[in-house]
Symmetry: C2
Subunit: 116 residues, 2 copies
DNA sequence: CCCAATCGTTTCACCTCCGTATCATAAACG
DNA sequence: CGTTTATGATACGGAGGTGAAACGATTGGG
């Protein structure tokens, strides 16, 4: 049980988590890359390059390159859609799920500290 | 009154706010720039380039350039410390305070929706 | 069939960011 | 004073991101 998060506490939450991500050792993602990753893991599949581009309001190459970068980090994977081979289906990976699990725990823990 | 924010809700919160920032028309900040801005506005002054660099675990040029960029957007301002003219004191601006007010409201509003 | 439409990728020129190294200025100290 | 130390800014090369445009691959409608 906790009181509603107030704006000042919300900023402190963003601040602390942002610091943890910036100082973070391993993965460092662009804000757009993180937005892509969260969309893939939180919204119902299937996910396509075009759909993600529209969702974020950016051009398709932005998505392609974000997927390249995160694919190299093994956070997502791609495969052709067998039904329509023009499409590319973006899939989750174990490492990506683990990364977001930890991020969710981090945010929730800081929120609990700020609004007990 | 709200239940404690759970990890999955925390991720949804980050996702929605991240989307709003990415799609947002106006100010476009790097995660490091936002971390600098939040530090300036949330932690007690005075703030110096060196102190901010240590706080974020980055080199001094990163801070100098972040301040350049955010100074152009009128989110922060700099002035020499009259006591020790080697130092630069980073100061808040009306526009920066307004931007962070709106961000705090945005986060708090989304959090209230997610964990009612 | 064939040709237009769709999808993801690639190319291009430009810009910004990063860290290292260096610089100019200013204070501290012998 | 002159030297050392400290601070912030700048130069530089490298890496990566961005949008616009063009490109292959694939589909589906006429």
């Amino acid at each position: 049980m906790s009181v509603r998060l107030r704006p000042i506490q919300a900023l402190r939450l963003w601040h602390e988590v942002g610091l943890a991500l910036v100082r973070g050792n391993g993965v460092d993602l662009t804000s757009r890359q993180l937005a892509v990753l969260l969309t893939i893991y939180l919204e119902p599949p299937p996910h396509t390059v075009r759909g993600l581009a529209a969702k974020l309001g950016v051009t398709k190459p932005v998505i392609t390159r974000a997927l390249d970068a995160m694919g190299d980090m093994d956070l997502v994977s791609r495969r052709r859609d067998p039904a329509d081979r023009r499409n590319v289906i973006i899939q989750r990976t174990v490492r990506g799920a683990l990364f977001l699990d930890e991020l969710g725990d981090l945010i929730a823990a800081r929120a609990a500290e700020l609004a007990p």
